[in-house]
């Protein structure tokens, strides 16, 4: 009886930690809505469409990520992972970043997989590099980037710039943030605990797979919903023209598009079609939008919060934002 209560208590804890900031965010949104005089049905309609669309678009990928994560846990032996783990960290890191090619899903799916890889002993730097690179450095994303920019004769340049900058940022961020031990990096929770999912025998393995899939899907899913709600709230309330006015300044314009990328929480497989519409911004700023969004946005903030300790998100922003700005500036200069 005591064990059951403890399990429920611990499983509730992450959500309680989320509900407080979510409630605060909701109150802020309501205040901003009042400020802009938006209290009518149109706002609710717009919010509902954007909110639901983000969740519908992302949920299958969260499920897919949870499935891959569960397969890794149940069917990939320690021996198989051991070969990767025995590689020197200097090789694990680029190998992790390049593995994104083999995992063509957007950012929602990569977080649970990276979390599982870290738990199974893959070097944290490699796991982080994989998580950050896979939403950018995967074939579907690169093809969609080429399709969006090729009518402007910038398809090849943009694909090369996005892949190169995404890879560089992922490797450097992996190196900078992956120095800690896994237990220092990952959030403590009960899901996926080996004690609760012992898997011996074929039937047990299938059931255990389902258990891990459930845990990861529901654990990540609620954070996705909160991130999508905040993104939809800001998209409903704040006009993009507020930041579009700074387009002429290279650095501020880049920061503005990174802010839009953060708030918009777009899928990396579609964001190029939005980026190309910001035609009054420089091409470097558009690249920053394409690289920063899949690394850090509203929904990812909550997904990272589900997987990693709180300080990870701040550190990630501090490491990646300057790199993206610098890379965007260099790209702009190279294309002049």
């Amino acid at each position: 009886m005591a064990t059951t209560e403890a399990t429920v208590h611990l499983a509730d804890a992450p959500l309680r930690r989320v509900l407080a900031p979510a409630a605060a965010g909701g109150l802020i949104l309501l205040f901003v809505a009042r400020l802009f005089g938006i209290t009518d049905v149109a706002a609710a309609q717009t919010f509902t469409i954007i909110f639901t669309a983000i969740v519908v678009e992302a949920l299958p990928f969260v499920l897919l990520g949870a499935l891959v994560s569960a397969l890794l846990e149940v069917y990939v032996s320690d021996d198989a992972l051991g070969r990767l783990k025995r590689l020197p960290p200097a090789l694990q890191l680029p190998a992790g970043a390049l593995a994104g090619v083999a995992f063509p899903v957007c950012e929602c799916g990569s977080v649970p997989v990276a979390r599982r890889l870290l738990r199974r002993g893959v070097h944290p730097a490699a796991g982080i590099a994989f998580m950050l690179a896979s939403p950018i450095f995967n074939p579907i994303v690169l093809v969609s980037t080429w399709v969006a920019y090729s009518p402007r004769d910038l398809g090849v340049q943009m694909v090369a710039g996005r892949a190169a900058l995404g890879l560089v940022v992922a490797v450097i961020a992996g190196w900078a943030l992956g120095g800690e031990a896994t237990e220092e990096l990952l959030r403590v929770d009960q899901s996926g605990s080996p004690a609760t999912h012992d898997h011996t025998g074929p039937r047990s393995k299938v059931t255990s797979l389902l258990g891990h899939l459930n845990d990861d899907f529901f654990f990540m899913g609620k954070f996705l919903v909160i991130g999508a709600a905040l993104s939809a709230g800001f998209q409903t309330l704040l006009p993009q023209s507020l930041v579009a006015g700074v387009a002429r300044s290279a650095v501020i314009g880049t920061l503005a598009l990174m802010a839009i990328a953060y708030v918009s929480s777009l899928c990396s497989e579609a964001d190029a079609f939005v980026a190309v519409s910001f035609s009054q911004f420089g091409i470097g700023s558009q690249l920053a939008f394409l690289v920063f969004g899949p690394i850090l946005d509203f929904k990812l903030t909550f997904l990272y919060g589900a997987a990693f300790r709180r300080r990870f998100i701040g550190s990630l922003a501090l490491v990646t934002a300057p790199l993206v700005v610098a890379g965007a500036f260099i790209f702009e200069v190279l294309l002049r």
Partner: protein
């Protein structure tokens, strides 16, 4: 079924039904673009499989993961609840005012591929405003006849005595919607409420740096089953 599994099975079942409802009712077109329609098909299949897996396996063994929390389950169902509580969720004039302005979208997503004489719509007109070469290649200019269906975004910001007719283009989902707006000069002093869907037939005329549609015929129409271009 063990106590820890049934709330998860219910949540998965409701999401499965929601995905299936989106597909069967055609409402999927309101949330997701045609290019990513497959995601909903794929999601429906995965969710149904996960639901069935939960039902079958959780009856056999007492191990379907952690118990979770009621707050978390409620949160997971919030999008579905909102869709059925909020009347006719849609992107309209408010969303158009919040998304990128007309200048921002003028060259959105590259030039649509068209042959001279083809029927043109919001995107082609927006691109013709941005690119004289594109306009010349398609023969877009004064007198070019158009037939547009969109919603009223409000009085035109750039053209006097005109309204803005808008239609969204989406790529993946409604979150990445980009509004395309064309100013319409009405045949007579008629006024339509914002968000009214109109079918406008008329011809293009140059008005400063932009094109305006001089309308011959304007009629209010129902919201199209595919509201985006």
């Amino acid at each position: 079924m063990n106590a820890g599994a049934w709330p998860k099975t219910v949540v998965l079942a409701l999401w499965s039904l929601f995905f299936l409802w989106l597909l069967v009712s055609g409402k999927v077109n309101v949330y997701i673009g045609p290019r990513t329609y497959w995601v909903v098909l794929f999601g429906a299949a995965c969710l149904v499989a996960a639901t069935v897996g939960n039902v079958v396996l959780s009856r056999r063994e007492d191990d379907a993961g952690d118990r979770g929390s009621w707050g978390g389950y409620a949160l997971m169902l919030l999008p579905i609840v909102l869709v059925f509580v909020v009347p006719e969720p849609s992107l309209g004039s408010l969303a158009a005012s919040r998304k990128a302005s007309g200048g921002v979208v003028s060259a959105a997503a590259g030039a649509p591929v068209r042959e001279p004489g083809d029927e043109i719509s919001f995107q082609e007109i927006s691109y013709a405003v941005a690119s004289e070469g594109y306009a010349a290649a398609l023969g877009i200019g004064d007198g070019y006849e158009v037939d547009l269906t969109g919603f009223v975004a409000g009085p035109s910001e750039g053209v006097a005595d005109a309204i803005d007719l808008t239609r969204f283009s989406i790529f993946c989902c409604a979150a990445d919607a980009v509004p395309y707006t064309v100013p319409i000069r009405m045949p007579e002093r008629t006024s339509f409420e914002p968000d009214t869907w109109l079918r406008v037939r008329g011809s293009l005329a140059r008005d400063g740096a932009t094109y305006v549609v001089v309308a011959d015929q304007v009629e209010a129409v129902e919201v199209p089953s595919r509201p985006y271009i």
